[in-house]
């Protein structure tokens, strides 16, 4: 079983996240870059399968700037067997169409039985890349899984919808995305950090993947940002310390504001 986990580098959500007003792109110098928490959970799904199936192979794959190296090394330290980094300056400002095309090409190059992604990134938050990748690869997607069971030839699980849950399965090869209902990821151990340095780490350019943007993306609709405006920060209002009457004072405040 070869499992490829898609990991995206994002600005740390604990810091202030900044959009560059000129380009509408995430200002990646403004905050620490980390592997998206949801992608660490996706990796955990793969690694816990590998815990029980020693012959499984786990690859971490990312498309992104040079800073991604740190995140992929962390993935190796947690227990992935190898890493693939698609790095190319032509990919700056890639939309979901470009991103999914590039990831699909990289997955064709690495080969896979199962691809595991996060349901939504915490920066773009599109929640569409995994399904787009699956469509391009011609394999079934199952997105937003809240539980996952992997067998030799099938992946199954439960997925939340607006009205309830669906139990679904798909034959392998397949692409799945998982939600934060799945467990938090393990921490890298010292031994893992040491052995990570010796694990295969491949860097691929668009040329290596046979992609020439001028040809591959000719006639393809592209999402572009026209304008970015920052909203004024919210100011704080009145703050009182409860001295036995705060509930009544709050009710008065709500009445005065016509909120009840």
């Amino acid at each position: 079983m070869k499992i490829v986990v898609l990991v995206k580098q994002v600005p740390d959500t604990y810091g202030e996240r900044i959009l560059d007003p000129a380009t509408g792109l995430v200002d990646r110098s403004g905050s620490d870059a980390v592997i998206d928490e949801i992608d660490e959970r996706a990796l955990e799904v793969a690694l816990s399968y590998k815990d029980a199936h020693k012959d499984a192979e786990v690859v971490v794959l990312s498309m992104g700037s040079a800073a991604v190296t740190v995140g992929l090394r962390k993935g190796l330290a947690m227990g992935a067997d190898s890493a693939v980094h698609v790095l190319d300056s032509a990919l700056r400002g890639a939309d979901v169409g470009w991103t999914s095309t590039v990831l699909a090409a990289a997955l064709t190059a690495t080969g896979f039985d199962l691809v595991i992604a996060g349901n939504e990134s915490t920066d773009g938050g599109g929640g569409v890349v995994p399904a787009m990748v699956a469509e391009r690869l011609g394999v079934p997607p199952i997105t937003y899984l809240e539980s996952v069971q992997i067998s030799d030839d099938e992946v199954a699980g439960e997925r939340g919808t607006g009205q309830g849950k669906l139990r679904v399965h798909a034959a392998l090869p397949a692409v799945i995305s998982i939600t934060e209902r799945l467990p938090e990821a393990r921490f890298p151990k010292f031994k893992g950090i040491m052995s990570a340095k010796k694990k295969p780490f491949t860097v691929l350019s668009l040329e290596d993947l046979g992609i020439d943007p001028a040809v591959t993306f000719a006639g393809v609709g592209r999402s572009v940002v026209l304008q970015t405006t920052k909203r004024p920060a919210r100011a704080s209002g009145k703050k009182i310390v409860d001295e036995g009457n705060a509930g009544v004072e709050l009710a008065d405040f709500l009445v005065a504001g016509h909120l009840i």
Binding site: G97, G127, M132, V168, E180, G221, S223, R234, N245, G247
Partner: protein, 324 residues
């Protein structure tokens, strides 16, 4: 005016999703709304009249025995088929789990540009300009699609107003999808809790509880205040993780984004990821024991105090007022 396809969501009981009026209103802002409805054979015609009242000038009923058995694929194929009939200026889906899946797969299939989570839409000449509310409303971004067709996922309920009612022209087609590329639905598990409270998304008042509530039993206090205010119940991720309340109630970065008239945060510290889901509320009220909790930085009315003494008093004050 160009045709605008709108993929209507239908529950597995055959009802129109709550997002339908807003989606058709969005389509009407851009052109002539064409409602695309994908059901098992025979189930769609009951929806036509209602779709007309909501503004659909045309209804495209795609029927497939595979609906409910094969995940998402019949909907993708139906839209692809409708495209060849209507040559639409844009294709809209709801920004739900299913709507995004359909939009994603169709965009990849037809090389369209994808505009995600639009909160407003307008035409500018031949292009479509979408407004997005990004990072919990910290930024407003406008985007468009260049060089190809546009598929847009529209945030549930974000676009208000209603399209003019019409008597729709109905087209019925049958389709059968290639199942090799599809996941299979084994079972549908309905939401067991049918709540009398308003749904979280779109509610005008939300009362949320955090880890500070301490237990599932004590979380009932949040529900009591919600009922006194006619509000929806929300929660922090910590409260969801602790099992006080179901995941559907989570507000924040990775939960639901709400923008109510009144948001009441009980025992919630106000982590940046929580604020990302509620900071555009008109009025924010916070009750927290810790005077330094970051939730107070954005609260219009903050109370440093214990929720277990302040909230019962508040409920009593509200109830005695309504008795007057």
């Amino acid at each position: 005016m160009s045709n605008i396809l709108a993929l209507i969501e239908v529950s597995h009981h055959g009802d129109l999703a709550d997002s339908t009026p807003s989606l058709l209103a969005a389509a009407a802002k851009l052109g002539t709304p064409v409602a695309v409805v994908v059901t098992v054979p025979g189930a769609g015609s009951a929806l036509v009249e209602k779709l007309g009242q909501l503004g659909a000038a045309q209804v495209y009923l795609a029927q497939s025995e595979q609906v409910g058995t094969f995940l998402v694929t019949p909907q993708v194929d139906a839209l692809a088929l409708a495209m060849s009939t209507f040559n639409p200026g844009a294709i809209l889906t709801v920004n739900s789990v299913e709507g995004r899946d359909v939009a994603a797969r169709l965009a990849a299939r037809i090389d369209a540009g994808l505009v995600i989570d639009a909160v407003d839409l307008r035409s500018e000449g031949p292009s479509i300009v979408a407004t997005h509310s990004v990072f919990g409303g910290a930024y407003t971004v406008e985007s468009t699609v260049q060089g190809g067709r546009a598929i847009v996922t529209v945030r549930q309920g974000a676009i208000e107003g209603q399209a003019d009612a019409a008597v729709p022209v109905v087209t019925t087609v049958s389709l059968e999808s290639d199942t090799g590329r599809s996941a299979v639905i084994d079972e549908v598990i309905d939401n067991v809790v049918v709540s009398a409270r308003p749904p979280l998304r779109g509610a005008s008042t939300v009362v949320s509880g955090g880890r500070g509530l301490g237990s599932q039993e004590k979380f009932a206090l949040v529900e009591r205040l919600a009922d006194a205010l006619g509000a929806a119940v929300g929660a922090s991720r910590a409260a969801v993780d602790a099992g006080f309340v179901s995941q559907a109630s989570q507000v924040g970065q990775t939960g639901v984004t709400v923008s109510p008239q009144l948001y009441v945060a009980l025992g919630i510290s106000g982590a940046i990821q929580h604020r990302a889901g509620m900071q555009t509320a008109k009025t924010i009220v916070a009750i927290n024991k810790d005077a330094d909790a970051p939730i107070f930085d954005i609260a219009d009315f903050g109370i440093v105090g214990d929720v277990f003494t302040v909230v019962p008093q508040l409920i009593e004050a509200i109830e005695s007022r309504s008795k007057k």
